[in-house]
Symmetry: C3
Subunit: 346 residues, 3 copies
Amino acid sequence: MVSSGEGVRTLTAADIAAAVNGEVRGDPTARVGSVAPLYRAGASDLTFLATPRYAPLLASRTPGVLLVSPALADTPGQPACRVVVEKPQEALLSLLPLLYRQPPRVPGIHATAVIGWGAEIGEDVSIGPYAVVGRQARIGNGVTIDAHVVLGDGVVVGRHCHLLPHVTVYAGSSLGDRVIAHSGVRIGADGYGYVFADGAHQKIPHVGRCVIHDDVEIGANTTIDRGSIDDTVIGAGTKIDNLVQVGHNVRIGKLCLIMSQVGLAGSVRVGDGCILAGQVGVSGHLEIGDGARVGAQGGVIGDIPPGETWSGYPARPHRESLRASAALLKLAGMMKRLERMLSERE
Amino acid sequence: MVSSGEGVRTLTAADIAAAVNGEVRGDPTARVGSVAPLYRAGASDLTFLATPRYAPLLASRTPGVLLVSPALADTPGQPACRVVVEKPQEALLSLLPLLYRQPPRVPGIHATAVIGWGAEIGEDVSIGPYAVVGRQARIGNGVTIDAHVVLGDGVVVGRHCHLLPHVTVYAGSSLGDRVIAHSGVRIGADGYGYVFADGAHQKIPHVGRCVIHDDVEIGANTTIDRGSIDDTVIGAGTKIDNLVQVGHNVRIGKLCLIMSQVGLAGSVRVGDGCILAGQVGVSGHLEIGDGARVGAQGGVIGDIPPGETWSGYPARPHRESLRASAALLKLAGMMKRLERMLSERE
Amino acid sequence: MVSSGEGVRTLTAADIAAAVNGEVRGDPTARVGSVAPLYRAGASDLTFLATPRYAPLLASRTPGVLLVSPALADTPGQPACRVVVEKPQEALLSLLPLLYRQPPRVPGIHATAVIGWGAEIGEDVSIGPYAVVGRQARIGNGVTIDAHVVLGDGVVVGRHCHLLPHVTVYAGSSLGDRVIAHSGVRIGADGYGYVFADGAHQKIPHVGRCVIHDDVEIGANTTIDRGSIDDTVIGAGTKIDNLVQVGHNVRIGKLCLIMSQVGLAGSVRVGDGCILAGQVGVSGHLEIGDGARVGAQGGVIGDIPPGETWSGYPARPHRESLRASAALLKLAGMMKRLERMLSERE
């Protein structure tokens, strides 16, 4: 492995084969410095071929090194150097950190950051320009706080978290270790709660917390409200995509995948290991059992038992949704005959 | 009521009964300092029991003081001290401001705030670090502008508003009194309007305003576009949740509830007192009558008369939507028999 | 045309007729200084009448100058001065830049902007307060970067772009010429990609770029992720509305219209000239052909051929969706009779 100036690294085919436990076919000194998809890979690129669908591209592309599955290792084509490995795509992912360095971190507190009275800042922390850290906030070791992040009073940030530019964490929130919050994430805003009295929607004070456990990643511009009386809680290892809405008092379990633009109304409970696909909506106070899945755009208006896959609006077991969709399509085609039969008969 | 240092307050059962007009059963000197839901309330917590569903929890929890409805006042269980009151949950909400102080406000303009030429700032205003106030903006008495808020030139902010971190208000916008805009709200961005000419989508200049009336609350990362020629207007007392989109020239009436991720296309009119549930979409130029409601994920493609409740896609009167859903489910179960009957007959 | 101090301009009816190639009926010296919709236009306002629907308003309103189509030019009513023109609304749009000046641009770099080492800044660039420009970023001539914009290391911004307050552009992104990004846009965040291994969702490193071509406009709080290995690409002249999600590796062609709250999952391909209406969702890896359209809230779970219009969930050709909706409504009304017939028969 060669690491030249300016952050560029290169790998030889031999380096690659050693790293992924693969077998070199061709020149083991062939050298690549970047990764590209096969359709535009050039002589200095590492790429991969895992399905026959893209095999014809080899006729026209000459990547520097091709990771290829055993079944496709003999595909005719140009590249002089192939590394045969069981799972080429996973092998590629494991090589990325070797070729691409993380952008350099600059530990230290930028001169323009505003640090509140009584804040405790751990070791090896990086705080960027114009960040604002509230009074008595606590920031763990190895945390990176990018430019323009705003942390409220008393916020707790665990170790090795990364808050990207323009993140807001309201007072009353705490983050575990290794949490990543992408740009524009809002953690701990007041939930949507009002009582109608005296001719107006009276705001319910929100005194619950927003608790994000270890290893959670939160996508850009996602909003997670604080609890009203209870807390809002995101379980360890759960990954949330962009533009998701998590209402007050929601509890999401461990290791869930919550995809883009999902909306969870107040007090929803999501078990461990659930998958909610894009644009799913879940009505208030419902319970999604452990390991359940909901298909894209599903509208959930009742509890979902553990382990089941639901879809559609209103969401039903996926098999039922499919049957209903199929029946509806058929119905449209036979409606005239049905109407005729009914009218003749009656 | 005792207010010790550091912002902690406590209340005795007698204080509580007096505040909510309830009756103490047990030790009137029992003292609480915080609020928690029943399932995790401890000896220093105030909590409530309003439905039999949660009554069994009393067997294992011992809250400091329990607010309880008359019907459930004699539920067997541990807590030594109960306060009997007609509506325990509402009573609890009314006690929150007594137990939890608002975070301290620091009136004054932070040294790092950039105040544009000719801006008029009222009395008792708080402007946080790195806020940017445009030229000739006018900010009323008692306003709180948090860190990193950006106000365009000439923006008007009424009295006692609170703009949370990272809010943007474009030039050409005005806010009434007591408006709350949560973190990441964008008020007054150009609407989505183009005319196709000369082989491109030509941008329509937006010269209308964005007018937010008194007592509106706007959730995190919600976007409200300015008008193109006419204005975009949000009526007094309307509450908008997170991640909502309000298009150009939209007019929303008074006292509406617009829930999370709703999208209102350009020039939609929403009457007074309407409720749009989560993820509802309304197509351009439609009219939602006063007091109408739309169920979650409803897709509105036609006007809705006043007072009606609609749902589904395309949205229809809710009763019709339910009937259609039920019919579809039945249809899937009888499709084979229907097909057989039709084929035998013809 | 008169341009007085303070940015106010006025036009006479004669100026207007000359600019739009129209014919004055009434006093050619009548003078207007602003534009308003007919229902509230006053003596100093220019407005228009293009459809008979709004003609009755002329009985009560007296705009300064009325742009009116030939067919409606003789509508009875008050306004003393009319300018007859073929397409009154388009004429109005073309007059807006004459009446409303762009807010004054202040070229130069604000004293509080943080400019990274090695950044190249073009001529006539305006950089606002608290903007942060990464190391070795390149910013073209005539660019406007508003307050609180954060550009990552090495970001490229073409000529005459306008980035509004609080925009974030991550490292690894490049923008063409004349790109407009509204407040809160996030360009180039890591996509949502994980591999489940060792009992956790392991993050896939994202090393692809995010490439925005010329003349793209991006609405407030929209998120466009960078590619994982390949790039995310938005084609020239495409216009994206507010709160849209564009996943990693997505490619959108030229001149598309992507409306509010649309979600495109990873690796979706959208051709040239497509229109995706509000809240549409497209599942991963699908292909939308050139010129295709999808109706509001459509849920796309299969490829769409070029030029077709689809709608509904699951999305189907629009005509089929309409037929299915109509059949379903009828079905609900005839379900009882169908059930009776089936039971009698069997």
